[in-house]
């Protein structure tokens, strides 16, 4: 086991973080190209909205896997910032797609949804929870806050993940498996933290 994790850690050290940043933008570039060339099916707006939201949740989940993986001896901490910031990017684009493409900038309906619809409210909670995380994702911001306060602030990622998963579960008709699987994954990456020994918690 240790031999395997050492090999992976060694390999991971040689990968520049820029590779993760660049890789994380590929889905977005593909989506723009697919939309421009009419490859998103009969309802491209729904497809765009859904894919952006799903990728945001996936990147958020990936960033939340870094700490549990360290417990198994895998050190991928260098990539967490890219995963977290790209999660925010996709969720912000998901929000924009909703406002501009889905709601067609009908502000009265948008505002009514924002206080009346639980799944919209949950989605907004998730987005707003991620905003301070994105803003404090730079080295100077981390220095200014100090590591302890920065770490405490970044527990908002848990709020974002829970809100995002719940948002996905209640926006669909009925109980299809996919949103429930994501909710289970979020619960899993948060629950393993409850049992982590203090010094490793982050």
């Amino acid at each position: 086991m240790a031999a395997v994790t050492d090999r992976i850690n060694g390999l991971a050290r040689r990968i520049p973080t820029g590779v993760v940043w660049a890789g994380a933008t590929i889905p977005f570039v593909w989506l723009v190209w697919a939309a421009a060339t009419n490859q998103l099916g009969a309802d491209p707006v729904k497809a765009i909205e859904l894919k952006l939201g799903l990728w945001g949740l996936q990147f958020l989940l990936a960033s939340l896997c870094i700490t549990p993986l360290r417990r198994l001896g895998l050190n991928l901490l260098r990539f967490r910032r890219a995963l977290g910031v790209m999660a925010f990017f996709y969720i912000a684009m998901h929000f924009l797609a909703w406002v501009v493409l889905d709601m067609g900038l009908r502000w009265d309906e948008i505002l009514r949804d924002l206080y009346k619809r639980p799944y919209i409210i949950l989605g907004m909670v998730g987005l707003l929870a991620m905003l301070p995380l994105a803003v404090t994702s730079t080295n100077p911001a981390i220095r200014r806050l100090g590591p302890a306060r920065w770490r405490r602030l970044h527990r908002l990622a848990y709020v974002a993940a829970m809100a995002g998963a719940a948002h996905f579960v209640i926006l669909v008709k009925g109980w299809p498996a996919e949103p429930l699987l994501y909710a289970g994954a979020v619960a899993a990456v948060l629950l393993v933290r409850v049992r982590l020994p203090r010094p490793l918690r982050a």
């Binding site: 939309a35 099916g41 009969a42 309802d43 491209p44 707006v45 729904k46 765009i48 501009v100 493409l101 889905d102 709601m103 067609g104 900038l105 009908r106 309906e109 009514r112 949804d113 009346k116 619809r117 639980p118 799944y119 209640i170 926006l171 008709k173 009925g174 109980w175 299809p176």
Partner: protein, 265 residues
């Protein structure tokens, strides 16, 4: 090509493309994703097909599809179609009035409702191997809604036989109600004196009423019904206002005179 007369009930709005109509379907018997029916429905055997007509009728029995169609006055009905999920299409159905078949079976005076059921055949309908809905899919109409000339049994679209994913070989179309009322691949029609159970109402009565008339003023508990996105209108087309009874108010509003449609939603 199916020969069908034009109808005064057709909208002059431009229909969606055949590809849009046949690749974007809610038909949970074939899966949850809107692309699943187009992928999975080819498995469905639609010939032979029979519809069991039962309950308060003079001539109950199993009616073969040929028998149903042999004297049916087929028309092309270009209808607006509004999904409860707040998207819409325009679809050129081929069909005949449900009243024609009900009259053939002879509706008895005590009948007040019509109950419909979709085929159950899990070996050809993979969605039915899961318990995502309580099979068979069930729908129902009040008798006056069922006898209304806008209510049709559709057997084709765009001049061809009904594609499997759209509810082959015979489905209901009730254009002033949310799409889920227009039950697909019908095998049973039963005339009753009590309001029948309907699938989405059984699943969540607060969200899906028995009537489910298109109504911009009554929100779905989780989303607004005030506007809709027209499928095929383009990425930047935005939304259109949803119209009461999906624009068929002149024809059907009278059916609900005196009713509080925020209660009987």
């Amino acid at each position: 090509k199916i020969e069908a007369a034009k109808s005064r009930f057709s909208t002059d709005a431009a229909p969606n493309t055949l590809s849009e109509i046949t690749t974007y379907n809610n038909f949970y018997e074939f899966g949850w994703d809107k692309g699943d029916p187009a992928r999975n429905a080819r498995l469905l055997t639609t010939d032979p097909w029979a519809v069991e007509i039962s309950g308060l009728v003079d001539r109950p029995g199993s009616y073969g599809l040929d028998d149903i169609l042999k004297d049916a006055p087929l028309e092309e009905r270009i209808y607006r179609f509004r999904c409860v999920e707040a998207w819409s299409m325009v679809i050129p159905w081929i069909g005949f009035e449900l009243a024609h078949l009900l009259n053939k079976a002879g509706v008895q005076p005590g009948a007040k409702y019509v109950a419909f059921e979709t085929l159950v055949r899990p070996e050809e309908m993979p969605g039915q191997t899961t318990r995502s809905l309580d099979w068979p899919y069930r729908e129902g109409l009040r008798l006056d809604e069922a006898m209304h000339p806008l209510t049709i049994l559709a057997t084709g679209l765009y001049g061809e036989a009904m594609p499997n994913q759209n509810g082959a070989p015979i489905r209901l179309v009730v254009p002033w109600k949310y799409g889920f009322k227009s039950i697909k691949s019908i095998v049973s029609i039963r005339l009753t004196d009590t309001q029948p159970e309907t699938t989405w109402n059984m699943q969540n009565a607060r969200e899906y009423g028995f009537y489910s008339n298109v109504n911009p003023e009554v929100s779905h508990p989780r989303w607004s019904q005030a506007s809709e996105r027209r499928v095929g209108a383009g990425i930047f087309a935005g939304r259109e206002d949803t119209v009461m009874f999906n624009g068929y108010g002149a024809e059907v509003a009278g059916l609900y005179a005196g009713m509080d449609l925020s209660k009987d939603y």
